[in-house]
Every structure is written in C-alpha cells, then in structure tokens.
C-alpha cells in the first residue's frame, strides 16, 4: 500500500496503529496496574484490527476472544485477587532502562530478521483451501463426535481453578 492516496484502508491502518502503539505506551507509562491492564486490551484490540485488514477475520476473532477476552480477564483477575497491589503508585526498582534496552533489542531483531527481508510491494497470496471454516471449527468443538467432552471438562476445571484462586488469594476477615 502506498500512502500517497488517502484510502479508507489507509485511514483504518492509521487508526489501528494509533490504538496499538498508544495502548502500548499506556501500558508502560501508567503507574496503576489496573490502568495498564486496560491499556493492554486497547493495544491488543488494535492488533485484532490489523488482522481484519490482512483479510484474516478468524485470527482477528481469536485475537479478541483469546487475548482480550481470556488473557485480559486473567490479568484483571490476578490484579483484583492481589488487592494490595491495585493501588500502588510508586516504582519498586530503577531498572526501566534495562527493560527499554531489551525491548529495543527485540524490536531491532524483528526489523532485521522479518521486516527488512520482506519489505516492499507484495502480491496477494491465495489462502490454501485446507483452512477450516468457522462452522467446521464449531462442529469439532460441540458435536458429540468431536471434542465436546474435553471442552465441558475444561469449563469445570476453570470454575474449580477460579474458586481455588479466590480461596488462596482472598484476604483474611
């Protein structure tokens, strides 16, 4: 895509970029863990938008369900359960520059190994037809011939794990 002409796609790309990067800055900039968690979800939502732009609606749905839904909720629960950490404002260590250095290294590494070799116009590639449709996926999950039993057991397990987490982490009354 060239940025010379202002297409709706370019507009959407810019919008999701702002969401992704802005959210990411919010995560590291915020001093409150809950706010950081919410910023993280904003950033992850931006990435889901990129998947839509890349014509990968399934990946976008997975991004929303797994990352924003599951992982976001998980982080929020973890923060809520350790309530003493919810209202922390001060920093505990002065090693932010180390973290920044690590992040920069990872960024440069990705640039050199992934982005630079594939830079430039790319022809659209055909998606191989073996990719399962969402309907097939649902059937595999919920039909009696598929994986419905492990799925249901997993939901029971998650309930028990949630109760267990609350039991272990709750404050004494």
């Amino acid at each position: 895509m060239t940025f010379g002409d202002f297409t709706p796609e370019a507009f959407a790309f810019g919008f999701f970029t702002i969401l992704t990067l802005g959210g990411a800055f919010g995560v590291v900039g915020s001093r409150n863990l809950v706010r950081s968690a919410v910023w993280l979800m904003v950033s992850l939502f931006g990435i889901a938008g990129f998947f839509v732009l890349l014509s990968a609606p399934f990946l976008a749905a997975v991004q929303v369900l797994v990352y924003i839904g599951a992982i976001g909720i998980l982080i929020t629960f973890a923060i809520m359960l350790t309530r003493s950490m919810t209202n922390l404002k001060e920093r505990f260590n002065k090693q932010w520059w180390l973290a920044a250095l690590a992040a920069l290294t990872a960024f440069l590494l990705l640039m050199v190994t992934v982005i630079v070799p594939t830079w430039g116009e790319m022809g659209a590639e055909e998606i191989p037809p073996t990719v399962a449709s969402t309907a097939q996926l649902g059937e595999a999950f919920f039909s009696g011939w598929g994986y419905v039993l492990p799925l249901e057991v997993a939901s029971l397990l998650l309930t028990a794990a949630m109760i267990g987490a609350i039991v272990i982490a709750r404050e004494d009354d």
Binding site: S143, P150, V153, L156, L157, I163, G164, I168
Partner: protein, 500 residues
C-alpha cells in the same frame, strides 16, 4: 456419519455427571449453611462419592469408545473409577476430622473436581482427553496443597507442586504434539493404526516422543528421577490432601500409563526393525529399580512421618512399575504375563488406596490432636489410643508387605507377574527392597508400642467420623489381604479388557 446417540453416551459418564452434581450441591451448601453446620458438607461428600462409586459397577462395560473416541468404556476404567471414588470419599472423611479443613466447603468442592478428573483419566482414550483430564486432576491439587495459607510450608508445597507439575505437563504435551504430528490423529487407536501403517520411518523420533510422554506420567506417579517434589509436597500439604495426592492421582495415572502404552506402542509395533515395546519397557524397568531403591534408602533417614510416607510412596510406585514391566511377557501355557501384570497393578492400587488412606488418616488425627508430625512424637501412641495404634500398625504392615495385611498379597501378585514375564532378577531386586522397607516401617511400629513419652497419660480421643474412617480402611485392608481372590479376578477381568 451416523446419528449421535446422546442417551448411551450420557450413560457412560454417569459417575462424572454425578460428581458434577455433587460439586454444585457442595457449592450451594457452602453458601447456604451457617459456619457451624458446614461439617455436614464433608459427610455429603463422603456419602455422595461412596454412592457414585456404585455406579460404575452397575454399568456393563463393552470395550467401545464413546464421545467421539474420547473415552473407552471398559473394565479397566471401571476398576480405577471405583478406586478413585473410594479414595475421594474416604479423603472427605479424613478431612472432616481435622480442625482446619473440616468446615471449608471449597475444599470439598475442589477435591470433587479433582476426583472427576481422575475418573475421566482412567477411561481417557484420546490424547486431548488425557491432557485435559490430567490437568483437571492436577490443577485442583495445586490449590489444595496450598490450602492452609497460614502455614508457610503449605504455601511452599503448593508452589513447588505447581512449578514441577506444570513443567511435567508441558514436557508431556510436547510428546503428545509429536505423536499428533506423526499421525495426524488424536485418538490412541488412530495413532496406533497410523504408526502401524508406517507413519514414522525413523525409530529415533518415536523414542523421543515415548521419553517425553513417560516423563509426564513418571512425575504424576512420583517415580525417580521425577520425584523431587514428593517429600516437600507431602510434608507441607494438609494431611488429607497428601493422602489424596498419594492415592487418587497416582492410581489414575497408572491407569492412563497402562492404557496409553498398551494402545499406542503394542508388542507388534516395530519401526525399522526396532521393537518399540522393548524400549519403553526398559524405561519402565529402569524407573522401577531406581524408584524402589532411592525411595527405600532415603526413607531410612526420615524423622517426619509424612516425609517417611512420601519416600515410601516413591518406593511403592517402583514396586507397581514391576507390574507394568510384566507387559513384555509373552503368553504361554494359559498364563498371560501381560494380563497378570495389569491385574497386579490394578489390585495393588486398590489395596494401596486403603492402606495409604489408613496411614495418613492416623497421621491426620494425630497431628490435629498434638500438632506434631515427627516419628519420635508417636511414642506411646499405643497407650494414648490403642485403636489408633492398632490401625497404624496394620497400615504399616500392609505397606511393608506382611500378611495378613493386603500389602503382602499385593506385592506377591506384582512379583509373580514379573517372574512369569521372565523378569526374575527384577523380582529379586523388588524383594530385597521390600526387606529394606520392612526396617523403617517396623521402627515406626516399635516407637508406637515400645517407646515411652511424657504424654503417655494424655489420651487422644477419636471422634465418630474418625473412628468410622479408620474402621472402614482397616477392615478393607484386612479383607483384601485375607480373601484377595474375588478382587484379583475382577482386576484380571479388567486387564483382559485392556487388550481386547
């Protein structure tokens, strides 16, 4: 595709459905009952699981797979379901006698879910089902191990169990993913068929998968060298939890270990001229020898009774692996060593469940009354409560393998299976280890009956549930030891169902 018959499929998982209903009932009782009456939750769990343990016996297993191949409904799963349900039931009774867990409704809820996982694990016939069931057993156990939050040792034990456990799960999952990659199947039968059709040309890649999966199972049954968590977790976790970990999760893991290796790597499978069964049997034999030896030798120097029982449980896992190793035997003259081995493992787990629950039950009552878990403090137990002393003695004799307790006949079946599979030398190592084990079990009995203590005149009172619990387990250990034949025949029937 034929129509999915919901009725028959639901019938097969009746025990699991019963456990789910029980879990929901516990949840409601916990929020509705006042704190003072919550001990009845323990009794509900005890009676509920005891009742559910009857269900598998009423269903007639047909050896078919259900739920799209997720579970196999055969006698082996039936036997192990009964074992884990009885284990859960009695554990609830043990917990009800302790002051810290007796009224915690969440405890029974989480334990019920873990039991459900163990039930499914003993019938799982698909690697996805195996993994989900294994996690359903384990994750609640991590929570239960850390249940006494005031006790630093309990927190430490939960954390250690969690870290070791999730690592072992990850390793096993890697092995499963390799098998899926080779065959494109998740069902055990499907993987076996693909392997037989030559899906893998190089034995090395299968060997890697076998090792990775075996590591996961070896962790669960606490076989050496994946036993490092055992003493610390057993010591730190609340005693009823220790009892449950040592029997239910171990029994279900043995069931799935047998089912997995028998189904996926049977005798006739050779890749590039290499028989795969030889490899994993050798792995089992090696783990058996080091588990027996390390467990027994390290148990000699323990001063804490729970740590002693932890090393004893490592050694017992070693003995049980003898029965698994007997799978290499070839049937001749009407004797099938493989079936004998599987039956011996099932029988051993049945008797070990009662024996260990008995021993840990006494420890739970004792430490709740006195606050001590050291062996030296057991001194004079015979004068403080002779019934507890008698029960503990029978438990220890059973662990040591002395008649008339069930441990003797259990070990006899295991060693017998090993001998009929031409593993005489392995059986001899087992017998030598049993002699080493005899020493430290007898030392504890000596402390209970002979040693004097300053508290000799302070009796320990048994509550009714505690008495019932000790009574049930003691009688079960004696019955299994005196009339083992009907139970062994049941186990033998289950063993043949594994191979059909």
């Amino acid at each position: 595709m034929e129509n999915f018959d919901v009725g028959t499929n639901l019938l097969v998982i009746i025990p699991e459905i019963g456990l789910t209903i029980l879990a929901v009932a516990i949840l409601f009782m916990d929020s509705l009952l006042p704190e003072s009456r919550r001990r009845s939750i323990a009794y509900l769990t005890f009676f509920g699981m005891g009742l559910i343990a009857v269900f598998p016996l009423m269903l007639s297993p047909d050896g078919e797979t259900y739920w799209g191949g997720m579970i196999r409904h055969d006698m082996l799963s039936q036997v192990f379901k009964v074992i884990v349900l009885l284990a859960g039931s009695i554990t609830a009774l043990v917990a009800s006698t302790t002051s810290d867990l007796g009224r915690k409704g969440e405890f029974y809820l989480i334990m019920t879910v873990s039991t459900l996982g163990a039930c499914l694990l003993s019938s799982a016939a698909d690697i996805i089902m195996i993994f989900v069931a294994l996690e359903t057993v384990s994750i609640p156990l991590y929570v239960l191990a850390a249940f006494n939050r005031q006790d630093k040792r309990s927190i430490e034990s939960g954390m250690k169990y969690f870290l070791f456990g999730s690592f072992a799960s990850a390793v096993m999952l890697y092995g499963f993913s390799l098998l899926y990659g080779f065959s494109g199947q998740t069902g055990l039968q499907g993987i076996a068929d693909a392997l037989r059709a030559g899906a893998v040309a190089e034995p090395v890649s299968l060997v890697i998968a076998i090792v990775l999966v075996f590591v996961g199972f070896a962790f669960k049954i606490s076989a050496v060298p994946f036993h490092f968590w055992t003493p610390d977790v057993y010591e730190g976790a609340p005693t009823p939890v220790t009892a449950f970990i040592s029997v239910a999760s171990k029994a279900a893991s043995f069931a799935v270990l047998l089912r997995f290796f028998v189904a996926v790597f049977p005798e006739e499978l050779s890749v590039d001229g290499q028989q795969m069964q030889t490899f994993w049997i050798n792995l089992v034999i090696a783990a058996s020898i080091v588990s027996m030896t390390v467990g027994n030798v390290l148990a000699l120097v323990q001063t804490n009774i729970k740590r002693l029982l932890a090393y004893s449980s490592i050694a017992q896992a070693g003995y049980t692996l003898l029965g698994v190793a007997a799978l290499q035997g070839i049937a001749s003259e009407g004797v099938d060593p493989a079936a004998q081995g599987v039956a011996a493992v099932a029988y051993y787990m049945l008797m070990y469940t009662f024996t260990n629950l008995l021993a840990f039950g006494v420890v739970a009552i004792f430490s709740d009354a006195t606050g001590s878990e050291t062996i030296a403090d057991l001194a004079g137990l015979s004068r403080r409560n002779r019934w507890m002393a008698l029960a503990m003695t029978i438990g220890l004799l059973s662990l040591a393998g002395i008649p008339p307790a069930a441990g003797f006949i259990g070990k006899f079946f295991l060693f017998n299976a090993a001998v009929s599979a031409n593993l005489e030398w392995l059986a001899i190592i087992g017998v030598l280890n049993a002699i080493v084990g005899l020493y430290y079990y007898l030392v504890v009995i000596k402390v209970i009956y002979v040693d004097r203590s300053a508290d000799d005149d302070k009796p320990i009172l048994l509550t009714t549930p505690a008495g019932v619990m000790l009574g049930i387990t003691t009688i079960a250990v004696i019955i299994l030891g005196v009339i083992p034949q009907p139970f062994f025949n049941w186990a033998l029937e289950s063993a043949t169902s594994l191979f059909s």
